[in-house]
Protein backbone atom coordinates (compact mmCIF):
# COMPACT_ATOMS: atom_id res chain seq x y z
CA UNK A 1 0.00 0.00 0.00
CA UNK A 2 2.83 2.36 0.80
CA UNK A 3 4.30 1.71 -2.63
CA UNK A 4 0.93 2.58 -4.19
CA UNK A 5 0.69 5.95 -2.48
CA UNK A 6 4.29 6.84 -3.20
CA UNK A 7 3.66 6.12 -6.88
CA UNK A 8 0.42 8.06 -6.84
CA UNK A 9 2.16 11.04 -5.32
CA UNK A 10 5.02 10.90 -7.79
CA UNK A 11 2.59 10.73 -10.69
CA UNK A 12 0.60 13.59 -9.24
CA UNK A 13 3.68 15.80 -8.95
CA UNK A 14 4.72 15.08 -12.53
CA UNK A 15 1.13 15.68 -13.68
CA UNK A 16 0.90 19.01 -11.90
CA UNK A 17 4.15 20.15 -13.50
CA UNK A 18 2.98 19.06 -16.91
CA UNK A 19 -0.39 20.73 -16.39
CA UNK A 20 1.17 24.01 -15.36
CA UNK A 21 3.51 23.94 -18.33
CA UNK A 22 0.65 23.32 -20.72
CA UNK A 23 -1.68 25.80 -19.04
CA UNK A 24 0.77 28.65 -18.65
CA UNK A 25 3.22 28.30 -21.50
CA UNK A 26 2.06 25.99 -24.23
CA UNK A 27 -1.65 26.71 -24.26
CA UNK A 28 -2.18 29.76 -22.07
CA UNK A 29 -5.59 31.28 -21.61
CA UNK A 30 -6.37 33.72 -24.43
CA UNK A 31 -8.67 36.47 -23.37
CA UNK A 32 -11.04 37.76 -25.99
CA UNK A 33 -12.85 40.51 -24.14
CA UNK A 34 -9.90 42.54 -23.00
CA UNK A 35 -9.97 46.27 -22.41
CA UNK A 36 -7.83 48.52 -24.54
CA UNK A 37 -5.76 49.32 -21.45
CA UNK A 38 -4.28 45.82 -21.73
CA UNK A 39 -3.07 46.31 -25.29
CA UNK A 40 0.53 45.34 -25.93
CA UNK A 41 2.87 48.28 -26.08
CA UNK A 42 3.35 48.17 -29.84
CA UNK A 43 -0.40 48.27 -30.37
CA UNK A 44 -0.81 51.05 -27.81
CA UNK A 45 1.80 53.01 -29.72
CA UNK A 46 0.07 52.31 -33.01
CA UNK A 47 -3.27 53.36 -31.59
CA UNK A 48 -1.72 56.58 -30.30
CA UNK A 49 -0.19 57.27 -33.70
CA UNK A 50 -3.58 56.76 -35.33
CA UNK A 51 -5.21 59.19 -32.93
CA UNK A 52 -2.43 61.70 -33.58
CA UNK A 53 -3.03 61.35 -37.32
CA UNK A 54 -6.72 61.87 -36.69
CA UNK A 55 -5.89 65.02 -34.79
CA UNK A 56 -3.92 66.23 -37.79
CA UNK A 57 -6.99 65.57 -39.93
CA UNK A 58 -9.65 67.24 -37.81
CA UNK A 59 -7.71 69.41 -35.36
CA UNK A 60 -9.91 68.19 -32.54
CA UNK A 61 -7.62 67.96 -29.53
CA UNK A 62 -10.47 67.26 -27.12
CA UNK A 63 -11.61 64.42 -29.31
CA UNK A 64 -8.05 63.05 -29.36
CA UNK A 65 -7.90 63.10 -25.57
CA UNK A 66 -11.25 61.35 -25.33
CA UNK A 67 -10.09 58.67 -27.73
CA UNK A 68 -6.86 58.12 -25.83
CA UNK A 69 -8.72 57.82 -22.57
CA UNK A 70 -9.50 54.16 -23.24
CA UNK A 71 -5.81 53.39 -22.73
CA UNK A 72 -6.39 54.19 -19.07
CA UNK A 73 -3.41 56.50 -18.76
CA UNK A 74 -3.50 58.83 -15.79
CA UNK A 75 -1.80 61.71 -17.57
CA UNK A 76 -2.59 61.63 -21.26
CA UNK A 77 -0.40 64.60 -22.30
CA UNK A 78 2.52 63.05 -20.45
CA UNK A 79 1.81 59.72 -22.09
CA UNK A 80 1.71 61.26 -25.58
CA UNK A 81 4.95 63.05 -24.83
CA UNK A 82 6.60 59.80 -23.77
CA UNK A 83 5.45 57.99 -26.90
CA UNK A 84 6.65 60.88 -29.07
CA UNK A 85 10.09 60.96 -27.47
CA UNK A 86 10.37 57.20 -27.79
CA UNK A 87 9.46 57.39 -31.48
CA UNK A 88 12.07 60.08 -32.03
CA UNK A 89 14.82 58.28 -30.16
CA UNK A 90 14.03 55.02 -31.93
CA UNK A 91 14.03 56.74 -35.34
CA UNK A 92 10.56 55.57 -36.21
CA UNK A 93 8.56 56.68 -39.23
CA UNK A 94 8.95 60.43 -39.75
CA UNK A 95 5.30 60.97 -40.64
CA UNK A 96 4.25 59.23 -37.44
CA UNK A 97 6.68 61.37 -35.47
CA UNK A 98 5.30 64.54 -37.05
CA UNK A 99 1.77 63.54 -36.14
CA UNK A 100 2.79 62.76 -32.57
CA UNK A 101 4.72 66.01 -32.27
CA UNK A 102 1.69 67.95 -33.48
CA UNK A 103 -0.49 66.27 -30.87
CA UNK A 104 2.14 66.76 -28.16
CA UNK A 105 2.33 70.43 -29.03
CA UNK A 106 -1.44 70.74 -28.90
CA UNK A 107 -1.33 69.16 -25.46
CA UNK A 108 1.33 71.61 -24.32
CA UNK A 109 4.11 69.05 -24.20
CA UNK A 110 6.50 70.28 -26.84
CA UNK A 111 10.11 69.46 -25.99
CA UNK A 112 13.27 70.72 -27.71
CA UNK A 113 13.86 67.26 -29.14
CA UNK A 114 10.57 67.58 -31.01
CA UNK A 115 11.35 70.92 -32.63
CA UNK A 116 12.84 69.50 -35.84
CA UNK A 117 9.61 67.60 -36.46
CA UNK A 118 7.33 70.47 -35.69
CA UNK A 119 5.23 71.65 -38.58
CA UNK A 120 4.97 75.37 -38.95
CA UNK A 121 2.59 77.34 -41.08
CA UNK A 122 4.31 79.81 -43.31
CA UNK A 123 2.67 83.17 -44.02
CA UNK A 124 0.12 82.72 -46.76
CA UNK A 125 0.16 78.94 -46.39
CA UNK A 126 -2.92 76.97 -45.58
CA UNK A 127 -2.59 75.46 -42.11
Amino acid sequence: MRRFFVSLFAGFIVGVGLGLYLGWIQFPVQFVNSPAADLAENFRDDYTVMIAAGYQADGDVIGAIERLRILNEEDIPEYVQDVTVRYITNSRDVDDIRNLVALSEALGKLLPIMEPYRQVTLPGQQP
Binding site: R3, F4, F5, V6, S7, L8, F9, A10, G11, F12, I13, V14, G15, V16, G17, L18, G19, L20, Y21, L22, G23, W24, P28, V29, Q30, F31, V32, N33, S34, P35, A36, D38, L39, A40, F43, D46, Y47, V49, M50, I51, A53, G54, Q56, A57, D58, D60, I62, G63, E66, R67, I70, D95, N99
Partner: protein, 311 residues
Protein backbone atom coordinates in the same frame (compact mmCIF):
# COMPACT_ATOMS: atom_id res chain seq x y z
CA UNK B 1 9.62 -50.54 11.11
CA UNK B 2 10.54 -48.93 7.94
CA UNK B 3 9.04 -49.44 4.57
CA UNK B 4 11.58 -49.76 1.90
CA UNK B 5 10.98 -47.92 -1.32
CA UNK B 6 10.74 -50.04 -4.37
CA UNK B 7 13.93 -49.75 -6.32
CA UNK B 8 12.02 -49.03 -9.50
CA UNK B 9 10.62 -45.70 -8.27
CA UNK B 10 12.71 -42.66 -9.25
CA UNK B 11 14.06 -40.23 -6.74
CA UNK B 12 11.34 -37.73 -5.76
CA UNK B 13 11.83 -34.40 -7.52
CA UNK B 14 10.58 -31.34 -5.72
CA UNK B 15 7.72 -29.69 -7.64
CA UNK B 16 8.54 -26.36 -9.36
CA UNK B 17 6.80 -23.44 -7.69
CA UNK B 18 3.72 -22.18 -9.53
CA UNK B 19 4.24 -18.78 -11.19
CA UNK B 20 2.65 -16.12 -9.06
CA UNK B 21 2.66 -12.35 -8.98
CA UNK B 22 3.72 -12.62 -5.38
CA UNK B 23 6.84 -14.40 -6.46
CA UNK B 24 7.95 -11.73 -9.02
CA UNK B 25 10.45 -9.17 -7.78
CA UNK B 26 8.55 -6.01 -6.78
CA UNK B 27 9.12 -2.86 -8.85
CA UNK B 28 9.88 0.28 -7.03
CA UNK B 29 6.82 2.05 -8.58
CA UNK B 30 3.33 0.92 -9.11
CA UNK B 31 2.64 1.98 -12.65
CA UNK B 32 -1.14 2.06 -12.30
CA UNK B 33 -0.70 4.41 -9.37
CA UNK B 34 1.72 6.56 -11.35
CA UNK B 35 -0.79 6.86 -14.21
CA UNK B 36 -3.65 7.71 -11.85
CA UNK B 37 -1.50 10.30 -10.11
CA UNK B 38 -0.37 11.73 -13.42
CA UNK B 39 -3.95 12.19 -14.61
CA UNK B 40 -4.98 13.74 -11.34
CA UNK B 41 -1.97 16.06 -11.34
CA UNK B 42 -2.47 17.04 -14.96
CA UNK B 43 -6.10 17.88 -14.36
CA UNK B 44 -5.24 19.82 -11.24
CA UNK B 45 -2.39 21.68 -12.91
CA UNK B 46 -4.50 22.69 -15.89
CA UNK B 47 -7.36 23.79 -13.66
CA UNK B 48 -4.98 25.93 -11.64
CA UNK B 49 -3.28 27.40 -14.70
CA UNK B 50 -6.46 28.16 -16.61
CA UNK B 51 -8.93 29.05 -13.89
CA UNK B 52 -7.40 29.71 -10.50
CA UNK B 53 -4.30 31.61 -11.52
CA UNK B 54 -4.15 32.22 -15.27
CA UNK B 55 -1.25 34.21 -16.65
CA UNK B 56 -1.95 37.90 -16.44
CA UNK B 57 -2.87 39.28 -19.85
CA UNK B 58 -0.65 42.25 -20.64
CA UNK B 59 0.12 41.78 -24.30
CA UNK B 60 -3.35 41.97 -25.72
CA UNK B 61 -3.66 42.19 -29.47
CA UNK B 62 -6.42 44.21 -31.15
CA UNK B 63 -8.39 41.07 -32.05
CA UNK B 64 -8.69 40.26 -28.34
CA UNK B 65 -10.33 43.55 -27.47
CA UNK B 66 -13.87 43.68 -26.26
CA UNK B 67 -16.35 44.93 -28.82
CA UNK B 68 -16.55 48.45 -27.45
CA UNK B 69 -12.81 49.00 -27.62
CA UNK B 70 -12.60 47.22 -30.94
CA UNK B 71 -14.97 49.88 -32.24
CA UNK B 72 -12.66 52.58 -30.89
CA UNK B 73 -9.78 50.90 -32.68
CA UNK B 74 -11.71 50.93 -35.96
CA UNK B 75 -12.52 54.60 -35.45
CA UNK B 76 -8.81 55.31 -34.99
CA UNK B 77 -8.02 53.44 -38.18
CA UNK B 78 -10.54 55.53 -40.12
CA UNK B 79 -9.23 58.76 -38.60
CA UNK B 80 -5.71 57.85 -39.57
CA UNK B 81 -6.87 57.15 -43.11
CA UNK B 82 -8.55 60.56 -43.19
CA UNK B 83 -5.14 62.09 -42.65
CA UNK B 84 -2.77 60.02 -44.75
CA UNK B 85 -5.04 58.06 -47.12
CA UNK B 86 -2.72 55.08 -46.78
CA UNK B 87 -4.83 52.09 -47.74
CA UNK B 88 -2.08 49.55 -47.21
CA UNK B 89 -1.67 50.62 -43.65
CA UNK B 90 -5.41 50.57 -43.10
CA UNK B 91 -5.54 47.06 -44.42
CA UNK B 92 -2.73 45.91 -42.17
CA UNK B 93 -4.45 47.39 -39.16
CA UNK B 94 -7.80 45.89 -40.03
CA UNK B 95 -6.17 42.50 -40.46
CA UNK B 96 -4.96 42.73 -36.87
CA UNK B 97 -8.60 42.52 -35.83
CA UNK B 98 -8.81 39.01 -37.37
CA UNK B 99 -12.28 39.63 -38.70
CA UNK B 100 -14.24 36.82 -40.24
CA UNK B 101 -16.08 39.19 -42.53
CA UNK B 102 -15.17 41.76 -45.16
CA UNK B 103 -13.04 44.20 -43.13
CA UNK B 104 -14.24 47.27 -45.00
CA UNK B 105 -17.85 46.27 -44.58
CA UNK B 106 -17.02 45.76 -40.92
CA UNK B 107 -16.03 49.43 -40.75
CA UNK B 108 -19.42 50.29 -42.26
CA UNK B 109 -21.16 48.11 -39.68
CA UNK B 110 -19.26 49.73 -36.82
CA UNK B 111 -20.14 53.16 -38.17
CA UNK B 112 -23.77 52.03 -38.27
CA UNK B 113 -23.63 50.90 -34.64
CA UNK B 114 -22.01 54.11 -33.50
CA UNK B 115 -24.36 56.30 -35.53
CA UNK B 116 -27.32 54.52 -33.97
CA UNK B 117 -26.14 55.23 -30.44
CA UNK B 118 -24.99 58.17 -28.42
CA UNK B 119 -21.59 58.35 -30.05
CA UNK B 120 -22.81 61.02 -32.44
CA UNK B 121 -23.86 63.36 -29.66
CA UNK B 122 -20.45 64.97 -29.66
CA UNK B 123 -18.90 66.73 -32.60
CA UNK B 124 -15.84 64.53 -32.22
CA UNK B 125 -17.95 61.42 -32.58
CA UNK B 126 -19.79 62.85 -35.54
CA UNK B 127 -16.53 63.75 -37.21
CA UNK B 128 -15.14 60.27 -36.58
CA UNK B 129 -18.17 58.58 -38.10
CA UNK B 130 -17.94 60.81 -41.13
CA UNK B 131 -14.33 59.76 -41.54
CA UNK B 132 -15.44 56.15 -41.45
CA UNK B 133 -18.18 56.85 -44.00
CA UNK B 134 -15.72 58.48 -46.37
CA UNK B 135 -13.43 55.49 -46.02
CA UNK B 136 -15.94 52.75 -46.71
CA UNK B 137 -17.84 54.67 -49.35
CA UNK B 138 -14.61 55.12 -51.27
CA UNK B 139 -14.30 51.35 -51.24
CA UNK B 140 -17.83 50.93 -52.55
CA UNK B 141 -19.42 49.78 -49.31
CA UNK B 142 -22.48 51.15 -47.58
CA UNK B 143 -24.08 51.02 -44.19
CA UNK B 144 -26.97 52.38 -42.20
CA UNK B 145 -24.85 55.37 -41.17
CA UNK B 146 -25.35 56.65 -44.72
CA UNK B 147 -29.00 57.23 -43.98
CA UNK B 148 -28.53 58.45 -40.44
CA UNK B 149 -25.77 60.99 -40.95
CA UNK B 150 -25.30 63.40 -43.76
CA UNK B 151 -21.84 63.28 -45.16
CA UNK B 152 -20.04 66.55 -45.63
CA UNK B 153 -18.88 66.66 -49.20
CA UNK B 154 -16.42 68.93 -50.80
CA UNK B 155 -18.24 68.86 -54.11
CA UNK B 156 -18.22 72.20 -55.87
CA UNK B 157 -21.27 74.16 -54.97
CA UNK B 158 -23.45 75.61 -57.66
CA UNK B 159 -23.27 79.33 -57.32
CA UNK B 160 -26.31 81.20 -58.54
CA UNK B 161 -25.76 84.88 -59.13
CA UNK B 162 -28.69 87.16 -59.88
CA UNK B 163 -27.43 90.03 -61.96
CA UNK B 164 -29.43 92.94 -63.32
CA UNK B 165 -29.48 93.05 -67.11
CA UNK B 166 -30.01 96.48 -68.54
CA UNK B 167 -32.65 96.77 -71.24
CA UNK B 168 -31.47 98.77 -74.16
CA UNK B 169 -33.23 101.97 -74.95
CA UNK B 170 -35.77 101.62 -77.79
CA UNK B 171 -34.70 102.96 -81.15
CA UNK B 172 -35.77 106.41 -82.06
CA UNK B 173 -39.11 106.57 -83.79
CA UNK B 174 -40.63 109.23 -85.90
CA UNK B 175 -43.44 109.62 -83.52
CA UNK B 176 -42.30 111.52 -80.56
CA UNK B 177 -42.82 109.65 -77.48
CA UNK B 178 -43.05 111.10 -74.13
CA UNK B 179 -39.81 111.21 -72.30
CA UNK B 180 -39.53 108.55 -69.73
CA UNK B 181 -37.24 108.64 -66.82
CA UNK B 182 -36.80 104.96 -66.60
CA UNK B 183 -34.69 104.41 -69.64
CA UNK B 184 -33.24 101.23 -68.43
CA UNK B 185 -35.16 98.64 -66.55
CA UNK B 186 -33.54 95.94 -64.64
CA UNK B 187 -34.93 92.50 -65.15
CA UNK B 188 -33.65 89.69 -63.05
CA UNK B 189 -32.06 86.84 -64.84
CA UNK B 190 -30.41 83.76 -63.53
CA UNK B 191 -26.83 83.00 -64.24
CA UNK B 192 -25.57 79.66 -63.16
CA UNK B 193 -21.86 79.42 -62.70
CA UNK B 194 -20.56 75.96 -62.06
CA UNK B 195 -16.90 75.71 -61.19
CA UNK B 196 -15.23 73.40 -63.58
CA UNK B 197 -11.85 71.83 -63.59
CA UNK B 198 -9.91 71.01 -66.69
CA UNK B 199 -10.12 67.36 -67.64
CA UNK B 200 -7.30 65.41 -66.10
CA UNK B 201 -5.69 62.66 -68.07
CA UNK B 202 -2.84 61.69 -65.81
CA UNK B 203 -2.96 58.01 -66.68
CA UNK B 204 -3.51 56.12 -69.85
CA UNK B 205 -4.53 52.55 -70.47
CA UNK B 206 -1.42 51.01 -72.00
CA UNK B 207 -2.53 47.41 -72.42
CA UNK B 208 -5.53 45.13 -72.22
CA UNK B 209 -4.86 41.40 -72.33
CA UNK B 210 -7.21 38.50 -71.94
CA UNK B 211 -6.57 35.20 -70.27
CA UNK B 212 -8.56 32.13 -69.35
CA UNK B 213 -8.02 30.59 -65.94
CA UNK B 214 -10.41 28.34 -64.08
CA UNK B 215 -9.24 29.73 -60.75
CA UNK B 216 -9.45 33.37 -61.83
CA UNK B 217 -12.60 33.25 -63.85
CA UNK B 218 -14.27 36.43 -65.07
CA UNK B 219 -11.80 38.74 -63.33
CA UNK B 220 -10.65 42.19 -64.34
CA UNK B 221 -7.12 42.57 -63.05
CA UNK B 222 -6.13 46.22 -62.98
CA UNK B 223 -2.53 47.29 -62.51
CA UNK B 224 -1.52 50.90 -61.92
CA UNK B 225 2.19 51.46 -62.44
CA UNK B 226 4.54 54.39 -62.49
CA UNK B 227 6.99 55.25 -65.24
CA UNK B 228 9.34 52.50 -64.13
CA UNK B 229 6.66 49.86 -64.03
CA UNK B 230 6.55 49.84 -60.24
CA UNK B 231 3.13 49.52 -58.65
CA UNK B 232 1.33 52.50 -57.18
CA UNK B 233 -0.94 51.54 -54.30
CA UNK B 234 -4.10 53.37 -53.32
CA UNK B 235 -5.10 54.36 -56.85
CA UNK B 236 -8.81 54.31 -57.65
CA UNK B 237 -10.07 52.14 -60.47
CA UNK B 238 -13.69 52.33 -61.54
CA UNK B 239 -15.65 49.70 -63.40
CA UNK B 240 -18.94 50.64 -65.01
CA UNK B 241 -21.67 48.43 -66.39
CA UNK B 242 -25.27 48.90 -67.43
CA UNK B 243 -26.79 48.91 -63.97
CA UNK B 244 -24.08 50.62 -62.00
CA UNK B 245 -20.45 51.06 -61.21
CA UNK B 246 -17.90 50.14 -58.58
CA UNK B 247 -14.72 51.85 -57.50
CA UNK B 248 -11.92 49.92 -55.90
CA UNK B 249 -8.30 50.62 -55.08
CA UNK B 250 -4.95 49.15 -55.88
CA UNK B 251 -2.80 47.64 -53.18
CA UNK B 252 -5.55 46.01 -51.16
CA UNK B 253 -4.14 42.59 -51.96
CA UNK B 254 -0.48 42.98 -51.00
CA UNK B 255 0.28 39.42 -51.99
CA UNK B 256 -0.43 40.46 -55.58
CA UNK B 257 1.70 43.59 -55.34
CA UNK B 258 0.95 47.24 -54.72
CA UNK B 259 -0.21 47.85 -58.29
CA UNK B 260 -2.93 45.23 -58.21
CA UNK B 261 -6.68 45.51 -57.89
CA UNK B 262 -9.36 43.25 -59.23
CA UNK B 263 -13.06 43.03 -59.94
CA UNK B 264 -15.25 40.01 -60.55
CA UNK B 265 -17.50 40.23 -63.58
CA UNK B 266 -20.83 38.58 -64.20
CA UNK B 267 -21.19 36.35 -67.20
CA UNK B 268 -22.39 38.07 -70.35
CA UNK B 269 -22.12 41.62 -69.02
CA UNK B 270 -19.89 44.29 -70.53
CA UNK B 271 -17.71 46.53 -68.41
CA UNK B 272 -15.63 49.61 -69.01
CA UNK B 273 -12.60 50.35 -66.86
CA UNK B 274 -11.10 53.71 -66.00
CA UNK B 275 -9.30 55.61 -63.31
CA UNK B 276 -11.94 58.11 -62.27
CA UNK B 277 -10.83 61.62 -63.14
CA UNK B 278 -7.40 60.36 -64.11
CA UNK B 279 -7.89 58.43 -67.33
CA UNK B 280 -10.30 57.82 -70.15
CA UNK B 281 -12.43 54.68 -69.96
CA UNK B 282 -11.75 51.73 -72.17
CA UNK B 283 -13.26 52.26 -75.57
CA UNK B 284 -14.53 48.72 -75.93
CA UNK B 285 -16.42 47.01 -73.11
CA UNK B 286 -14.76 44.02 -71.51
CA UNK B 287 -17.24 41.15 -71.68
CA UNK B 288 -17.12 38.06 -69.51
CA UNK B 289 -17.65 35.41 -72.15
CA UNK B 290 -17.11 31.69 -71.66
CA UNK B 291 -13.70 30.30 -72.55
CA UNK B 292 -11.83 27.02 -72.25
CA UNK B 293 -8.58 26.78 -70.34
CA UNK B 294 -5.50 24.90 -71.53
CA UNK B 295 -6.60 22.04 -69.29
CA UNK B 296 -9.95 21.90 -71.02
CA UNK B 297 -11.90 23.42 -68.16
CA UNK B 298 -14.69 25.89 -68.72
CA UNK B 299 -14.26 29.41 -67.33
CA UNK B 300 -15.04 33.02 -68.09
CA UNK B 301 -12.64 35.26 -69.93
CA UNK B 302 -10.57 37.45 -67.62
CA UNK B 303 -8.83 40.69 -68.51
CA UNK B 304 -5.59 42.24 -67.40
CA UNK B 305 -5.47 46.02 -67.86
CA UNK B 306 -2.48 48.22 -67.11
CA UNK B 307 -2.55 51.96 -66.46
CA UNK B 308 0.55 54.11 -66.59
CA UNK B 309 1.15 57.84 -66.31
CA UNK B 310 0.90 59.88 -69.46
CA UNK B 311 4.43 60.97 -70.40
Amino acid sequence: MTIARPPTLPEEIPAAPRPSKYMRPRRYFSWPAVVIGLIMGLAGGLFYAWNVNPISEVDTAPWQLRQEDKNHYVVAIALSFAHDGDLNRVQERLLQLRLNTDPIQYVADVACDLASGGYVDSSSGLSAIRSMMVFYQLQGRSGCADTLIELDTDEPETQVLVLPTPTLAPPASKTPTPIRNDRATATPSTLVIVPTSPPQRDFVLVSVNTFCDSELTGIIEAYVQDFNGDGIPGQPVRVRWDEGDDTFFTGLKPERGPAYADFEMEEGKGYTVEMPGLSDPTTQPLVAVPCTTDDGEQALTSYRVVFRPVN
